[in-house]
């Protein structure tokens, strides 16, 4: 019983600390000092650094979507609908979630290991000892950078995915490129774009805050850094997938009500 109580207390404490860190990451933006250069550096690292994997995976996800759906539509003689379905799937779902998961794998782990190493070598304590608030200097720039770059990365990923889909539909399904592209664009409504965009914002927040939380709470030296890095990727990925379900339901409800 005591073990269960301890486990419950530890879990509640972790949720509490994570919530405080997340809240402070945002409220720090309202007051100075602001670390603009650090935010730009992080944008370069998270945004530009993630571009190759996002481009490559985006292109092939679009292409494979076309191959999978196109063959089904062909059976009913509706191969031209491929553009519609691929576009909707990429904008609403696959673009944000696949990009989110890729960036989580690359950046949550990177953030956790970087901050974790700083913790075990007392660099975070040294920062505090010199009068710098680590949540302002380390957390807020990473959260801000991810919030700005993930929607941009997702947009690029969707665009490249449509290009991949277009190439696959031309080569495999013999659909005219213009037809594919026109249908892919025309099917999209404002609510679809908003659904995809709102997901990227939530995913970005999860990626950065989970990485920072795991990194800043490292215990047990270099072994702890390794553990935190793994946990950051696992927790961020699971949270992205779980929140995606709820966000989809919410977005569909709102689209039904207001658009």
């Amino acid at each position: 019983m005591e073990v269960l109580q301890d486990l419950a207390k530890t879990s509640v404490l972790k949720v509490q600390n994570y919530s405080i860190l997340s809240l402070r990451a945002i409220t720090n933006l309202a007051t100075g000092p602001r670390y603009i250069q650090d935010s730009l550096d992080q944008m370069d690292d998270i945004g530009v650094g993630s571009l190759p994997i996002v481009l490559l995976s985006g292109f092939f996800i679009g292409a494979v979507m076309v191959l999978q759906t196109g063959t089904q539509f062909e059976r009913f003689g509706q191969a031209s609908l491929t553009g519609d379905i691929v576009s909707l799937a990429l904008v609403r779902e696959l673009g944000p979630s696949i990009t989110g998961l890729l960036v989580a794998g690359r950046c949550s782990s990177g953030i956790a290991s970087e901050l974790g190493s700083m913790v075990v070598t007392e660099q975070v304590d040294a920062m505090r000892a010199m009068g710098t608030d680590p949540s302002r200097k380390l957390v807020t720039p990473r959260v801000l950078a991810t919030l700005i770059t993930l929607p941009l990365l997702t947009t690029i990923s969707v665009f490249v995915g449509l290009l991949g889909g277009m190439v696959a539909s031309v080569l495999s399904l013999r659909i005219n490129a213009t037809t594919f592209w026109e249908r892919a664009i025309k099917i999209l409504e404002f609510s679809d774009i908003m659904q995809g965009f709102s997901k990227t914002v939530v995913f970005a927040f999860i990626i950065a805050t989970v990485g920072c939380y795991q990194g800043l709470n490292v215990r047990g030296g270099t072994q702890g850094v390794g553990r935190a890095t793994t946990q950051a990727v696992v927790v961020a990925s699971v949270l992205i997938i779980v929140s995606d379900t709820f966000l989809t339901k919410l977005a569909l409800y709102l689209a039904d009500k207001f658009f």
């Binding site: 000092p33 070598t121 007392e122 660099q123 304590d125 040294a126 920062m127 505090r128 000892a129 010199m130 009068g131 710098t132 608030d133």
Partner: protein, 279 residues
């Protein structure tokens, strides 16, 4: 950084208020209570040597003094202000009055030596033109002017400690906390670090807490002084020197202050536990 000729004269002016004051401070973790009612004070310009075996809480005392940790109970006053219940946002400002030299230096490994030393000045919003001469001056003081553009990973252990001292010194804090500054260093490098610490004490008159498990560090600080005229470190255990830059030992044992006294009193002690440090 040339010593101020009037430095010694200035150091004769003492205030009655202690720079650092611990009153019945207790601190524990999941594995048990480490500090069990620690009470001591450090007067202005005094060097207090915290001596004790590994795990007796020397580093914890330094972290408590700088507000990096909070006590479970008791009070800590630094420069006249009770910091035990102060929110972190206020402590950040107060910590600018304190230099902290971490055991392994804790230098920012992605920044150059110059950027590490200048860190606090950048935070204060000084321009590059203002920062550059100050960094040069302080690196010259620790005799590392040639390493400005090096990364910490390119330096030896002793050099990293000296950079850490330079970083702590740049804002001219009235209090400096040293966490085992000679741990893991060879005797010659340790001597260099200690002579740097006593130069810092005698030139700027800083109040210092120095955690160590090496008794000889404490005795070196008590028996040697930096002479601003000849710019040399010389042996001087005269009462006058001891009055200007007093050194006191605190020995920690089982979470409490086991011994508190001057180097002489420690030397003359017949206590079997203290004798173990003297061998």
């Amino acid at each position: 950084m040339e010593p101020n000729p009037s430095g010694l004269t200035a150091s004769l002016t003492f205030t009655s208020q202690p720079s650092i004051e611990f009153k019945n401070v207790r601190l524990g973790f999941a594995e048990g209570e480490i500090l069990r009612g620690v009470t001591f004070s450090a007067q202005e310009r005094e060097t207090v040597i915290l001596l004790g075996e590994t795990g007796t809480g020397k580093t914890l005392l330094l972290k408590l003094a700088s507000g990096l940790l909070r006590p479970d109970s008791g009070s800590i006053r630094v420069l006249g202000k009770d910091i035990s219940g102060v929110p972190e946002s206020e402590l950040l400002g107060m910590r600018r009055q304190i230099g902290f030299v971490f055991q392994e230096g804790a230098l920012f490994d992605s920044l150059t030596v110059g950027e590490n030393v200048a860190y606090r000045l950048y935070e204060d919003g000084l321009s590059d033109q203002e920062i550059e001469p100050l960094v040069k001056e302080v690196l010259r003081f620790v005799e590392l002017a040639h390493t400005t553009d090096s990364l910490p990973s390119e330096l030896s252990g002793g050099m990293r400690r000296r950079v850490a001292i330079a970083r702590a010194l740049i804002a001219r804090p009235p209090i400096v906390l040293y966490d085992s500054p000679t741990a893991g260093l060879d005797p010659i490098t340790s001597q260099t670090i200690i002579s740097l610490i006593l130069r810092l004490r005698d030139v700027y008159g800083v109040t210092a807490l120095l955690a160590t498990h090496r008794l000889q560090d404490g005795f070196a600080l008590a028996n040697f002084h930096f002479d601003p005229q000849s710019k040399r470190v010389r042996r001087d255990s005269s009462p006058e020197s001891a009055r200007v830059a007093p050194t006191r030992f605190l020995v920690l044992r089982a979470g409490k202050i086991y011994f508190e006294g001057t180097p002489d009193e420690l030397m003359k002690s017949q206590d079997s536990y203290l004798q173990r440090f003297l061998i």
